[in-house]
């Protein structure tokens, strides 16, 4: 558990909004020692390969997206303030008074503006402040700010990782560094089983933007089957059980028309035979994850989905359960044995 937590916290100490996945240096550092091959492809995916040594063996693709939600600089004004737009997935509601990381040639830390309550005359109903009406303050005058920050630079939410009660942790970009941490751990454990298939671990790019990373990774690696790890909504006061999964209740196994029924059954079978807690997440259409992109790539790839319950998605205060991550590791290991394995 401690190791998984350390992986997660290390992966979340860096910022990599969709399109800047190369900034996640810790990922390559964690993955490389365990992989037979490790490379970054043209789409920005980091791909780590574990060969089974059998010529002509099949291929299983294990995918977790490495990118995170972010903002993008649209202007640096004559007072040195940064204007920005939503780049991927961030709700305007969480922005005022947030601290952010501006990913320019040198990283800068900035504060998102807000309206002082003293100047906000009462009476009117408060409206959400739109991103276009906010600025980021990096504390620089116009000349210095324009030198340091360029239009098109990306911006990430900023917060540190904290342990809460009951094995829960709080931080940013757990969507989907939680999935990445699980796959890193699985990769590190593969010495204990002998897969009959080559395993392609894809830490994919651009999921929060358009899913292009997973599409091209599926094309490149030519998998027979794919398993996607991502996060899903956990129950919280405004997210009832009808819309979310129980945090700490085990990972959610996706059931959806776009997912492969046999593979989904293998996941459930692996969970049952190992006594792992799990939940099922029924999704009536597409899943909204990389599973959609992978399933429809090439001539079609049978795909299954595991999701980690997460509260307050796309904010700097996301919460996941370390026990769910632990369960996910065991479930993925079980799945690999089921579909591509045999004990050593």
């Amino acid at each position: 558990m401690t190791e998984l937590k350390n992986y997660l916290f290390e992966l979340c100490s860096e910022s990599a909004p969709s399109g800047r996945e190369e900034l996640l240096c810790s990922l390559e550092r964690l993955v490389r020692p365990y992989a037979d091959e490790c490379y970054r492809d043209g789409a920005g995916n980091l791909i780590a390969v574990k060969k089974c040594g059998v010529p002509g063996a099949g291929r299983l693709l294990l995918d977790a997206h490495a990118d995170e939600v972010g903002l993008v600089v649209t202007d640096v004004d004559e007072r040195g303030f940064i204007h920005f737009a939503n780049h991927a997935g961030i709700d305007d509601k969480i922005l005022p008074a947030s601290t952010v990381t501006v990913l320019s040639s040198h990283t800068l830390i900035g504060v998102v503006s807000s309206i002082p309550p003293h100047l906000d005359k009462g009476g009117k109903e408060k409206k959400v402040i739109k991103a276009k009406d906010l600025v980021i303050d990096v504390g620089l005058d116009a000349d210095s700010a324009r030198k340091a920050v360029k239009v098109g630079d990306f911006i990430a939410l900023r917060s540190s990782c904290t342990e809460l009660r009951n094995g829960l942790v709080l931080g940013k970009s757990f969507d989907n560094r939680a999935g990445c941490a699980v796959l890193v751990k699985v990769l590190s454990l593969l010495g204990s089983i002998r897969p009959r298939r080559d395993l392609y671990f894809c830490f994919s790019a651009s999921e929060e933007f358009n899913g292009a990373g997973a599409s091209s990774a599926a094309f490149l690696t030519e998998p027979d089957e794919a398993l996607v790890l991502d996060t899903t909504f956990a129950v919280s006061p405004y997210t009832p059980a009808s819309r979310g999964k129980k945090l700490g209740g085990g990972c959610a196994i996706g059931i959806s028309p776009i997912l492969n029924t046999h593979m989904t059954e293998s996941l459930i079978g692996a969970a049952r035979s190992r006594g792992l807690p799990y939940q099922t997440e029924v999704i009536a259409g597409r899943t909204g994850t990389n599973a959609d992109n992978i399933a429809r790539s090439r001539a079609g790839v049978p795909t299954a989905l595991i999701s980690l319950p997460l509260r307050y998605m796309h904010s700097a205060g996301e919460i996941v359960s370390l026990s769910d991550l632990e369960t996910a590791v065991l479930l993925v290991m079980g799945f690999i044995e089921y579909r591509a394995g045999g004990k050593r």
Binding site: P96, A97, V111, V128, D137, R165, N166, M313, G317
Partner: protein
């Protein structure tokens, strides 16, 4: 780095719960001044100067900061809260907090944008619709570490950044506490009273009772005040600007300041070449409102460090403004010794 300001802003001290910051200040000032704590928790300190005072002069800064207070624990273990002091609910969603004496970490919940109903997209949830999540399983689990009445502070790091700026929580009014502490460590022209007051953010409570004990002729409040200089809307006042020196108030929401005393402040600033600005809006208010009307009244002035994003988890101020505010208060004392 301004180590004292970093230390002072790192401490939690919501109105009525100023214990940590009070102990820190007392440790800093007791070698240099005689200090006591009064019934409400104000620090009242007497600093011996080079000469007899021309009049009773009281310099004050408030110790408390805005924050939250737990009002109830729900069945699911989440905490309902209210604000202590004026906080716009729009700055709360997704922010990290520390609850109670145990500084239990938590976060103010929000709804994932994917699940927000279209009708609610532009809706601001009021404070009574928000909650804190400390990761408790249920009410009983939460009760093992949190109680109704526990105060809640924002978790936010101190950092100096940009062109000589600082960002931290509680700059309102730990900048004032830092400046007063530095003044107490300085040789002053005459005997001077210093007050570190409690409960300013809930209606200037402590400063009034402190003033009753000191009965000042002159009151100088050292504050952190709103800088709205981020606006590019010409029709809106910036109030004051970060980096352009301390803001001197002629009037705000609670006080019309003493004209003669204000003239003296501006003269002192001019003579000592201390950069300064006038606060260009009648807004907000500070401890002067209580001090001015206490006992037989005092001539009041407020000298403030401009702070952007006041009353949020992260304010921004200028280190040179802080230094110049200290210089201006000292210049005012020197000028007062000539009257």
């Amino acid at each position: 780095m301004n180590k004292l300001l970093s230390y002072y802003t790192s401490l939690f001290g919501t109105s009525g719960s100023e214990g940590d910051i009070r102990r820190a200040i007392i440790n800093e000032i007791t070698p240099h001044a005689k200090a006591r704590v009064d019934a409400l928790g104000n620090i009242i300190a007497f600093k011996k100067g080079a000469a007899e005072p021309p009049a009773v002069v009281m310099i004050s800064a408030h110790m408390d900061e805005v924050g939250l207070i737990v009002t109830d624990i729900a069945d699911d273990g989440t905490l309902r809260f209210d604000t202590v002091g004026g906080i716009d609910p729009r700055v709360l969603c997704g922010k990290h907090v520390a609850v109670g004496r145990g500084k239990i970490p938590g976060v103010i919940g929000q709804v994932a944008p994917h699940l927000e109903k279209k009708a609610d997209r532009d809706k601001v949830r009021a404070v009574d619709e928000l909650y804190i999540d400390v990761g408790a399983k249920d009410r009983e689990d939460a009760q093992s570490c949190v109680s109704a009445g526990d105060v809640v502070g924002f978790r936010s790091d101190y950092a100096e950044f940009g062109n000589g700026l600082v960002r931290a929580k509680a700059l309102d009014d730990r900048v004032g506490c830092e400046i007063l502490t530095e003044l107490i460590k300085t040789d002053l022209p005459f005997d001077t009273w210093f007050v570190f007051s409690v409960m300013e953010e809930i209606g200037c409570v402590g400063a009034g009772t402190a003033a009753f004990q000191i009965k000042p002729d002159y009151s100088i409040v050292v504050e952190g005040t709103t800088a709205a200089d981020i606006t590019d809307d010409e029709s809106k006042s910036p109030v004051c600007r970060v980096g352009e020196g301390p803001a001197v108030s002629f009037m705000d929401g609670g006080t019309v300041y003493d004209k003669d005393f204000m003239r003296l402040v501006l003269d002192a600033a001019g003579e000592q070449a201390v950069p300064h600005q006038l606060k260009q809006a009648v807004s907000g208010g500070n401890d002067s409102a209580s001090i001015q009307r206490t006992a037989s009244g005092a001539r009041a002035i407020a000298i403030s460090v401009p702070v952007r994003y006041l009353h949020t988890p992260t304010g921004v101020a200028s280190l040179s403004d802080i230094e110049n505010t200290r210089r201006l208060v000292l210049a005012v004392l020197q000028k007062l010794s000539e009257i």
